[in-house]
């Protein structure tokens, strides 16, 4: 896999890169996962980071908005990969979406998105 620095700069290939990295992620231990869930929750709830509560009702969060659907039964409805893609760039599924493109606009780093996925996968 050789990717030139110039190409990495473009948002599209960044998304591809995130995708590749995730395939390479080894299985994590239960304890590590619990940490990631906790960290993901913090990122999701933080106004400066995910601020997902602005638009989504999420268990454990106060004063949620209702612009997007409540984040419930995630595991039953989604593959982790799909969740990651949705959070990274919601425009892929709905080009008019109001949901911010957290990945390409660098609102969240790739590892932060991973943690948010771990968290919402518990919902």
């Amino acid at each position: 896999m050789r990717i030139s620095a110039r190409i990495v700069n473009t948002a599209a290939s960044l998304a591809v890169l995130i995708g590749c990295l995730s395939l390479a992620t080894p299985a994590v231990s239960v304890a590590e996962n619990a940490d990631a869930v906790e960290a993901g929750k913090e990122i999701a709830f933080s106004k400066k980071k995910g601020n997902c509560l602005a638009c989504h009702d999420i268990k454990g969060g106060k004063l949620p908005g209702n612009i997007g659907p409540p984040l419930i039964a995630m595991k039953a409805r989604f593959k982790k990969e799909d969740l990651k893609n949705q959070i990274s760039d919601a425009r892929v599924k709905n080009k008019h979406t109001i949901m911010p493109p957290f990945g390409p606009h660098q609102i969240l780093k790739a590892d932060e998105i991973e943690k948010v996925v771990e968290f919402i996968y518990t919902l």
């Binding site: 949620p64 908005g65 209702n66 612009i67």
Partner: protein
């Protein structure tokens, strides 16, 4: 401002369902029809009341506030500024605005074919001051907001009737404003339309998003939030624009920039037919 580490200036038009070629008349028709359809219980004339036109519980709270409105003393201050301000050359505001008592806010904004610019009330206030040899005022709050509150108050009840943009230059300005309204911007990549058109009536966190129809009617406005943050709570429309741009982590334009004046031109035209209602009071 300090917190906006990553300020995005890029504006993405590709993804917005925006048709630059539609005529302003058609835009106006569509805009009204959209909100009429979205909020069938709100009488058309009531959209001037912002979020309170679509949400009963907040309306009751607001009506209680309105019994002793916080902006009242600023109307008085504005009146005093109007009557008592003496410019370097001895003239006053009456020389520039002889018909102010009849309500002149409704004459703005308009497109001036001679200068090729959108003219706003605030713009003419500062023009009056500087052309008479005095120092211009700040654009967003303080004296500017008080005098504009007084002039808005004199205009209450009159109908918003911005002349339909005609000619290439006026249409170009209108389209700059329209583009601003529908374009995604900022790190969070949201448009005015996302929040105040498509998702108006929804909650963003604890705030209910107001419909853009009628938005401009009650400016300048007294905001509790501004009062808490600094000073007295009074602010102009362009102050609000800046705040809404910053919310999506976009770099705000300057108050009275060509960009915001064009936005005001489009935004006000979209409320044609409703009543002027300023100054207002909001959370």
């Amino acid at each position: 401002m300090k917190k906006l580490a990553a300020i995005f200036t890029a504006v993405v038009m590709l993804a917005s369902p925006f048709v630059a070629s539609a005529s302003p008349q058609q835009d106006l028709k569509d805009f009204r029809a959209f909100f009429k359809n979205k909020f069938p219980e709100t009488p058309m004339n009531d959209f001037i009341n912002g979020v309170y036109s679509i949400h009963k519980a907040s309306r009751e709270q607001w009506e209680a506030f309105e019994e002793f409105p916080s902006y009242e003393i600023y109307i008085d201050k504005g009146e005093a500024l109007f009557n008592d301000t003496k410019f370097a050359n001895g003239k006053g505001f009456k020389n520039c605005f002889p018909t102010a008592q009849k309500g002149i806010k409704g004459e703005y904004p308009y497109f001036d074919n001679k200068t090729g610019k959108v003219v706003t009330l605030e713009g003419d206030i500062n023009k009056c001051i500087t052309s008479n040899g005095s120092e211009k005022w700040g654009w967003k709050k303080g004296k500017m907001a008080y005098l504009s509150a007084y002039l808005a108050y004199q205009t209450r009840g009159q109908t918003i009737k911005v002349a339909t943009p005609k000619g290439e230059a006026a249409l170009a300005a209108y389209n700059v404003g329209k583009t601003h309204f529908y374009a995604k911007r900022g790190q969070l990549n949201m448009s005015c339309a996302d929040c105040h058109y498509y998702y108006s009536g929804n909650k963003i966190r604890a705030d209910i998003l107001s419909p853009a129809l009628g938005h401009v009617s009650h400016f300048p406005v007294y905001r509790n939030k501004w009062a808490k943050k600094s000073g007295d709570g009074m602010g102009t429309l362009h102050r609000r624009y800046g705040g809404c741009n910053k919310q999506v982590r976009a770099r705000p334009f300057k108050a009275q920039s060509a960009e915001y004046s064009a936005l005001e031109y489009f935004h006000t035209y979209m409320s044609n037919g409703l009543k002027w209602n300023g100054p207002g009071q909001r959370k």
